[in-house]
């Protein structure tokens, strides 16, 4: 174990590997926010594991000095669940993109929300598959026709990560913008302090394949502070559905028992039967 410096700095959580992201990529902001959050939490790097899948944003573990795991496309949450089950003492961060998390790994997203393990899932959402050079992702708007794989637009409604996380049972749901790394860092701190599955959708522009996203910095705005965050799922759902997807902040926080081995052991058949009767 390395000693924790009195005042760890964000760069103490970075590795010497230089990111290969394109200039202007939103993921730089997310990397900065993660390291800022960890510095402010004063967490020794060896107490944090960062798990990712495949894609541009999934390269993030290599750029940190944390335990890193660059895994299987779409399976980051499942790998994270296994790691958390074996090492409940570790702070588990799972990170990836909208492709990794919502299309090829969409199934795991639903079940990670339900399971409510104590971990934080950061999705860098740029509404495009960047690593394979610019194809529509689940969060791409239906009228985007720039990809050769969607010759007539996506013909599908865009996936709504926050609303789906809510419906699936996530207990902390937030949306943030990579261009505001300090705000994002604060959100990551809250998410990591939240007992249970915390989901942060980060709007993280892709200047290469979605240059129009450079405008996001002028569009993003906070959710109305008087109504959110809420622990009322109906109110949270209303905001998720009314919103154009560009409002940021914590949306929903719920106190629900966290998945843990000890919790499972405490549950008896009588408890389960009681649950069915009530």
């Amino acid at each position: 174990m390395n000693p924790i410096p009195e005042q760890p700095r964000p760069k103490d959580y970075k590795s010497d590997v230089k990111p290969v992201w394109c200039p202007g990529c939103g993921d730089f902001g997310v990397l900065n926010a993660i390291t800022k959050a960890l510095a402010s939490l004063r967490l020794p790097p060896e107490q944090v594991a960062l798990i990712s899948g495949i894609g541009c944003s999934s390269r993030v573990p290599a750029y940190t000095s944390l335990y890193g795991f660059h895994g299987i496309h779409g399976r980051a949450l499942a790998v994270g669940a296994g790691l958390k089950a074996a090492r409940p003492d570790l702070n588990v961060l799972v990170a990836g993109g909208d492709g990794d998390g919502f299309s090829i790994g969409g199934n795991h997203f639903l079940h990670a929300c339900r399971r409510n393990m104590n971990m934080t899932y950061i999705v860098m959402d740029n509404e495009v598959y960047g690593m394979t050079k610019g194809q529509a992702s689940p969060t791409t708007a239906p009228d985007w026709t720039q990809s050769k794989l969607t010759p007539s637009g996506t013909l599908s409604r865009a996936f709504q990560p926050a609303a789906i996380a809510l419906a699936a049972g996530a207990t902390f749901i937030a949306r943030a913008f990579s261009g505001k790394p300090n705000t994002l860092a604060q959100l990551i701190v809250l998410a990591m302090q939240h007992p249970g599955f915390a989901f942060i959708q980060v709007l993280s522009p892709c200047p290469t394949f979605r240059p129009e996203q450079k405008e996001w910095k002028n569009i993003v705005r906070p959710f109305p502070a008087d109504e959110l965050p809420t622990s009322d799922p109906a109110l949270a759902a209303l905001h998720c559905q009314r919103d154009d997807g560009m409002s940021t902040g914590v949306i929903y926080v719920e106190a629900r028992p966290v998945w843990s081995r000890s919790e499972m052991e405490k549950t008896t058949i009588e408890d389960i039967e009681q649950e069915f009767r009530s």
Binding site: D16, V17, H73, S103, G106, A136
Partner: protein, 420 residues
């Protein structure tokens, strides 16, 4: 028409000429350009009457083809590497259900460790899945074999995989003769499904089959592949008559008749090998080559005929059955088991190494084979010093860490992670 185009684009043009009705796509390197070009052709109207689906994963891509093929539509998709592994359940389903889907595999290594470059690990993982597997040597062959693949698939009611080396072929520009629509229409009849979801004659597909019938179903899958051994050369001959090119077939000889040493391989590497072998023959060395174009079904009898007089065979393959050795070599040894022929197994090109495969490094390997000095199996261009250092680390301490990361640090590709 002669064109100077990228391999992926050539394949897209060939598939377009086959009048596909459903194409499902999910991007994965190095196959992505193929489906992207097909998407553009659907948009421009160059491919008419075709539904183009962007799906959420490779599993979705092949499953969509299973659905559309069952409905009687000519269906196509493409994949590579991890994508092939992810769709594996659907791979077995497509062949088990006898659905004549054509799928291009842009051959790429499989991980971990993740690697995007070329070898045959992906196709080989599906070698027993009941698909016909055709390997192509050039982009011209890629075009020609796709056209044959649809006809073969539909005639046999079996899916066909066309395997082409990732990057080496998919991303290289070369001169390709793209046939015209009339020629292709004359060769490839309209899809007449053997089975069809048809409300006039309702059926349920995907029946559960118990011990009382499973063996027969499996036997018939094998039997169909044996039928393909007859059909593939017949089609290649007909193709040659119509298109004027020798493309496809079971195997291809490159002066292997009468040669003492025969190099056996598959795919694009023969392009470089041909030149080395010609050079060696000019020097009086009795050496030739042969490519296996149909890996499944495996053309045992044809290979026996062609190789019966050889003294030794050097099999060069870009894949490895871990714990056993060369896969093509194993298949070949079985085919030649009662012949007094030495079969050397050389494994190379794994994860894109060496880059490039050169005449010089191939020649060194062949000469070693001719001297009968090859290890079993021989690893082409391996750096044993790196291997030995890792074995020493493992010997020195129990918690020696991950092999892949250790070796990256050893060769200096990445610096050791910084700790505070």
């Amino acid at each position: 028409m002669l064109k100077q185009i990228e391999g992926s684009h050539a394949v897209a043009e060939a598939v377009a000429l086959c009048r596909p009705e459903v194409i499902s796509a999910y991007p994965i390197t190095p196959q992505t350009h193929i489906v992207e070009d097909l998407g553009s052709m659907v948009k421009s109207g160059e491919i008419a009457n075709c539904e183009f689906l962007l799906v959420e994963s490779e599993f979705g891509a092949l499953s969509a083809c299973i659905g559309s093929s069952a409905a009687g539509a000519r269906s196509y998709t493409a994949t590579s590497s991890q994508g092939m592994l992810f769709m594996m359940e659907a791979v077995y389903n497509a062949s088990g259900m006898g659905l004549p889907i054509v799928m291009t595999v842009g051959n790429r290594a499989i991980g971990a460790p993740i690697n995007i470059w070329n070898d045959w690990g992906d196709s080989m993982s599906a070698r027993d899945a009941g698909w016909i597997q055709l390997f192509v040597e050039s982009n011209q062959q890629a075009v020609d074999v796709h056209i044959q693949a649809f006809r073969l698939a539909e005639q046999l009611s079996l899916p066909v995989m066309v395997c082409m080396d990732g990057f080496v072929l998919t991303h290289s520009y070369s001169q390709v003769d793209i046939p015209d629509q009339k020629q292709v229409d004359a060769f490839l009849p309209t899809f007449e499904p053997r089975q069809l979801l048809d409300p006039a004659s309702p059926v349920s597909m995907g029946a559960m089959v118990g011990p009382d019938a499973f063996t027969e179903v499996r036997y018939l899958a094998h039997h169909k592949q044996m039928e393909a051994l007859e059909l593939i050369p017949e089609q290649a001959a007909e193709f040659e008559t119509l298109f004027g090119r020798d493309s496809g077939g079971l195997v291809k000889s490159f002066d292997c008749e009468g040669a003492e040493t025969v190099v056996v391989t598959m795919g694009s590497v023969i392009g470089t090998m041909k030149h080395v072998l010609a050079e060696m023959r000019d020097e009086g060395i009795s050496i030739g080559a042969l490519t296996v174009r149909s890996f499944r079904p495996f053309p045992k009898e044809t290979l026996r005929d062609l190789l019966k007089d050889a003294k030794r065979v050097i099999v060069f393959e870009k894949c490895l059955a871990v714990g056993m050795g060369g896969i093509l070599a194993m298949n070949l040894r079985m085919a030649l088991k009662d012949f007094p022929i030495r079969v050397h197994s050389a494994i190379g090109g794994l994860g894109g190494r060496p880059r490039p495969i050169t005449r010089a490094n191939l020649r060194r390997m062949f000469e070693k084979g001719i001297r009968d000095e090859m290890e079993e199996p021989h690893f082409h261009d391996i750096h044993m010093d790196i291997v030995e250092r890792e074995l020493e680390r493992e010997q020195a301490q129990r918690r020696s860490g991950s092999i892949a990361e250790n070796i990256l640090q050893d060769v200096g590709v990445v610096a050791a992670a910084k700790t505070i």
